[in-house]
Point group: C2
Chain length 380, copies 2
């Protein structure tokens, strides 16, 4: 099969399957509803205003971002309730205030007295109470205070009393990305919940407010069974899914909505290699499946229609060359892929692969409808 809509696309380029994306979005929205929590999708994966409209509940929020550039683009598009879920840099407070002045309620994240003092002072000086959440650590993955850390109350007090707004507590179980299967992931979810609920209780016992209690990662959001005490959950990569998520059973291969369209440019028969025009610049250098049970190389190969070619992976990548080979240990055979054949490559990590591209070519849910083009952005 050859899709005539792809004939004019330059390769490599990014394809997005609208139907799969909608299915992924619906699934988590329903799960959040069933658990009785709000969903605050993370827009760092898509970085596209068009995609954000699908992801956000009423098309305008609430949302999570990973950079101020994202906050600025999405605020300009009318999204006014945004959590910037990376510890706030002291050099970024002027831009935070500018976003507030432009009508966006941007909530910052922090885990130290130094940051709390700076946010409180900037708030006081500007006459704008910057909402701030305290980051809580449940798994030793990166940032955040332990719920029992004495700094928690001090940070909360500074925010609440010195000019800022203590908006709540937030936790991200990044270690859940290495937990295989729903049972293991639900343990991380419960650890997330216990950490933030315990921190929220400690703040409230100290007479401080803690309206928002936020948890989330794609694996824990889907695996959560009970979120008592939690008010919202966050997830990002679930919109597209990817091979890393499939490798821990957070999705099926068939759920992956993002792929890279590529063209065969050569062969090295002596090695059993097929050369394509998607190298690491198109796929990213992410090798997130390298330590999983099934190593997908730089991506799993599908035909132009998205059907997986068994055991064919992008085994090696140079900047603009991908090398397709049989997975190590496979007893399959290489199919005949003549020069000029178009293929799709499923990515290890959707956030990383999408970031290498400037736009999505969207395959509409309606069969045969013309492709749509959605611009994406990067930067900080």
């Amino acid at each position: 099969m050859s899709d005539p809509r792809f004939a004019d696309l330059p390769t490599p380029c990014l394809l997005l399957d609208e139907a799969k994306m909608k299915r992924n979005i619906d699934r988590l929205a329903k799960h959040a509803d069933a658990l009785g929590v709000a969903l605050r999708p993370h827009l760092k994966t898509t970085k596209s205003v068009e995609a954000a409209r699908y992801v956000l509940k009423d098309g305008n929020g609430p949302a999570t971002v990973s950079t101020l550039a994202e906050a600025e683009v999405f605020a300009a598009a009318g999204i006014t309730d945004i959590v910037y879920a990376v510890g706030i840099g002291l050099n970024k407070l002027d831009r935070v205030l500018d976003l507030h002045r432009a009508g966006c309620r941007l909530t910052v994240l922090l885990d130290s007295v130094v940051q709390a003092r700076a946010v409180a002072k900037a708030s006081k000086d500007a006459g704008i109470a910057i909402p701030a959440m305290i980051e809580i650590d449940s798994d030793g993955h990166r940032s955040g205070l332990s719920p029992s850390d004495p700094d928690l109350i001090e940070v909360g007090r500074i925010l609440h009393q010195d000019g800022a707004e203590l908006a709540g507590v937030l936790c991200h179980a990044g270690e859940s990305y290495s937990a295989v299967g729903k049972e293991a992931q639900s343990e991380y979810s419960e650890a997330e919940r216990l950490a933030v609920v315990s921190a929220a209780e400690a703040l409230r016992e100290a007479g401080l407010p803690c309206p928002v209690v936020s948890v989330g990662s794609t694996p824990t959001a889907h695996a959560a069974k009970d979120l008592t005490g939690v008010t919202e959950m966050r997830a990002g990569v679930y919109v597209f899914f990817d091979l890393v998520m499939a490798g821990i059973d957070a999705c099926r291969i068939d759920d992956i909505a993002l792929s890279v369209l590529t063209t065969v440019i050569g062969h090295q028969p002596k090695h059993g290699w097929v050369m394509i025009d998607a190298g690491w610049m198109a796929m990213s250098r992410d090798r997130g499946t390298a330590n999983q049970a099934v190593d997908q190389g730089y991506g799993l190969v599908c035909d132009e229609d998205g059907n997986v070619l068994p055991d064919q992976i992008v085994a090696q990548a140079n900047q603009e060359h991908g090398i397709i080979a049989l997975r190590h240990g496979s007893d399959g055979t290489m199919p005949d892929l003549p020069i000029g054949t178009r293929l799709r490559i499923l990515p290890n990590h959707a956030c990383a692969t999408a970031a290498q591209h400037q736009r999505y070519h969207v395959i509409p849910e309606t069969p045969g409808a013309p492709l749509m083009t959605w611009e994406r952005f990067g930067g900080w």
Copy 2:
């Protein structure tokens, strides 16, 4: 020391040291002169018109590129002698012809009868003889015909007789990136030379022209001792250099002209971690030093002025979080790096790290002079 010129830069961002870049450029230009070959720098590393002016001999060429997007941008900037050094996709010939019509002599690369026929036919149909080089393989790294492959003569004959222009032969010893030290690299250089010279002789013996005999990679270009029979050499990453190149002794750490400016955003004292706002989105996912003698994590940490902080590496990276820790096995101690401290991170792979950014902030050779901003581009 705190450089006031950095105070207004958003972090993370890309810094480029003009003096080091010029030194790197001069060194290879002199070596090419001494060897009696032309230098055709690869612009895939810089992807910046301003940087290209420094790299190219007269500011306008000759040049090598890795994408048609690069060819189009550089052609529009007046660079008219470009080799597109990735096997030509049959879907890209219209854009190749458009570049010729716009006055750019774009040479394509191929290694098969199928491609040669398509290039010859496109040439004939358009009345434009597309120059094409035949890719030769010297080390089993990726594409290219072995010099003794019978297809070599057939490909050459098709190009020469059927409407295209047989421009020569080209080889890239990609395996040289794993060869440590000048002696080992010079063996790859000699293998490159032998492969292309032998292919050129075979073509000439068959009565075909072979005006250009091209070799190159950053390690082999610097290590080459004798290039008899070769007419030009190519290299790309030497303009900036990086930790991978330093790890194989192709440069010193002090030669690395590119770094990522970042800000400390937190600490995890129980782990000995310093959190920075440069994660893998700013550094890229490239872990090219992982298999070298010294694993530099996601980058080597320097103070704001570029002085290496011994044994401090970006040990882990999330999308927008970098985690600085002591190198495994180090008996050093973590310095005091308060929140707000600016640092520079040297990258594993300059091509990959630069590709994550939209511009260079250039530190001029003249001490204290204002920073320059050079835009860079991506895409295909």
